[in-house]
């Protein structure tokens, strides 16, 4: 079987998706990144290999997400794609008639506006991470409940309380205040969902032409409270697609499939064996000018594979060329 692998290495989670020749999802893996993108790419790759049936031939690999370049070098990716395009392509595969995509991940949230099947506008959170997965995780942890319980209990709210959602720090102190006042936890949880949705729509969604059908994906779409709050706020149904949490990886795999169909060369994929290799990362401060850029480098057996992080191109040329 011929297959295409998409990997989405985000700030909080790492996602893998394998599609077959007809672009159907064969298998997927969802792991916490835990600040160790290389380890997680290797671990995920191992799991994918175990889950795949025998005789699968990987014909193309694409990486996306904030660690897409790093993951791209490790994997020998055929395509390195930004997560905005990947998410749009993934969602449109399942819902070609979609006009708006809301994507809320671990640390960033996006809105993608689509008309007639092409992206016409997008937005991404800039200065504020309120409403993203990490904050919700943190609040669940503080209330000593799982994120799943958070999601269910938020739905049991009868009279949601108003929480200040402009800033996570103030949202948290506001929540504590409301707890101390004796409000029901369900009402506080759902009040938080509403506050975060308002924050999202006022920041990321500002000035965007939000039209139905609306697709909601990313890890936060697991949270039923947030789904309900979005529907209420927009006064419209939202669709949470199956496998919404790995949609970026699915989009990347779709893109590399298309790319390889036009290419005359085979895949650069380095094979499943790379999950056993010991990569080494390090960093140094460039002294060439007063900017003192922090250059990060990835090496294998003392040979530098790639470098990042400079304001100029001094260190960024590919070490292989």
């Amino acid at each position: 079987m011929e297959a295409y692998l998409g990997i989405d290495v985000g700030s909080v989670t790492t996602k893998f998706a394998v599609l077959n020749e007809s672009d159907e999802l064969v298998t997927h893996v969802y792991l916490p990144t835990e600040g160790k993108p290389i380890d997680m790419v290797q671990q995920g790759l191992k799991q994918i290999k175990q889950q795949l049936p025998k005789g699968v031939d990987i014909r193309g690999v694409a990486t996306t997400g904030s660690a897409r370049y790093l993951a791209g070098v490790i994997m020998g990716a055929d395509l390195v794609k930004n997560e905005i395009t990947s998410h749009a392509v993934g969602a449109l595969r399942y819902f070609p008639e979609g006009q708006t995509i809301i994507e809320i991940g671990g640390q960033d949230s996006k809105i993608i506006i689509i008309r007639d099947g092409i992206v016409t506008d997008f937005g991404m959170n800039t200065v504020c991470a309120a409403g993203t997965g990490s904050f919700l995780d943190h609040q669940a942890l503080r209330l000593n409940m799982s994120i799943k319980e958070f999601s269910q209990r938020a739905l049991d709210s009868t009279t949601p309380v108003r929480i200040a959602g402009r800033c996570t720090v103030f949202a948290e102190s506001d929540m504590i205040h409301k707890q101390q006042m004796g409000h029901r936890i369900e009402d506080i949880l759902y009040g938080l969902c509403q506050a975060l949705v308002r924050n999202y729509l006022n920041n990321v969604g500002l000035g965007k032409d939000i039209q139905s059908p609306i697709i909601f994906q990313g890890g936060v779409a697991f949270n039923q409270g947030i789904v309900k709050a979005i529907q209420e706020e927009l006064g419209s149904e939202v669709i949470v697609p199956p496998h919404h949490e790995v949609m970026g990886a699915i989009g990347a795999a779709l893109l590399v499939h298309e790319e390889m169909a036009h290419s005359h060369e085979g895949s650069k994929f380095k094979g499943f064996g790379i999950s056993e290799i010991k990569y080494h990362t390090s960093s140094f401060e460039c002294q060439a000018c007063p900017s003192l850029c922090e250059i990060a480098q990835l090496s294998l057996n003392g040979q530098v594979l790639a470098r990042w992080g400079g304001r100029c191109d001094l260190w960024e040329r590919s070490p292989t060329s």
Binding site: S66, K81, N82, E83, I84, T85, D116, G117, I118, V119, T120, D121, F122, M124, T126, V127, G207, D209, C289, P290, S291, L292, C293, R311, C312, D313, R317
Partner: protein
Amino acid sequence: MRIGMPHMGNLYIPFKALFQRLNIDFVIPPLNNQRTLSLGVRHSPEGMCIPFKLTLGNLIEATELGADTLLMPAGSGICRLGYYAKTQEQILHDLGYNIAMVSVGVSQRKLFGLLEMIKRLSNNAPWSKIISAFRFGLAKLNAMDRIERAVQKIRPVERIKGTANKLFAKAIKAIDQADDYNTLKKVQINCIDQLNQVTKVSKAQPLVVGIIGEFYVLLEPFSNLDVESELGKLGVEVRRTTFVSEWTKFSLFLNPLGMNEKDRIHKAALPYLKRDIGGDGWESVGEKVLHATEYDGLIHLAPFTCMPEIVAQNIMPSTKENIPVLTILCDEQIAKPGMLTRLEAFVDLLEHRRRAQSNSLRREHGSLSGH
């Protein structure tokens, strides 16, 4: 008296030529770098824009090199930048620097005001000498901008990324060192020749993106994280109306004669914004309208907290002239990976849009010709 002034792109080169020819003592602070920014941020109120912070950093670094007379643009009719000279003077005095601030009125009396100021700085040099030095500085400015326009065309199509930037840096150095018009001309011709000979990728038609927005962040690559070079690496051709040489041509020479290039831009903006709102906000709206059919997309650069550009940003989506616009807010918090993600996604958007448009054109054409 030793002169110091803030940076904006390579503008120090024409000023250096001018000062040298008039025997004015001056220092050039280090080009914008992380230290400049840190100094500026440390001593500025948090809500000030990136032009304020970087220029303050430059002025501090110039003072460290012995400058005691600092030049800073000022005047009414621009934006709060008009008060920056005064504010920065106060900050520098509070820091214990004993300096004199000379406000350069960019909006009043135009050319004559500028020449008068130079005359004062040059300890009353004869007018003939001042005009000749000014002309030479201007020639350097024009040469740099002509080369930069050529560089903008090569960046997206060069086979080895970074080639055009290297030639550009070499030419800037040579222009800086040129002592006469002849050498200057040679440098310019040589560089443009070399640029034309750069090996190119065979790509049919690169996407064309217009860069619009606030003057300083457009012209100081450090403040916009080198957005033009990054777009070049993505294979996108960049066009920009704002060049210092254009500005001097109009504001110093042609406007006083009643010719105003900006009339055209303002007229285009009229249905959506009827008056100047300070800074370059009016121009940003007008340029969006004008370029809607010319380019594939626009990148709108604005300093964070810039009122005129934020007004413009919020007017732009409602114009009937439709073109994708990506606004990038520049400040000390902006991070390159985040900007690159947005640029890459924007370029994908433009490519898909162009493909969809050519497909629908082909369909229309096909149905008309009966196929």
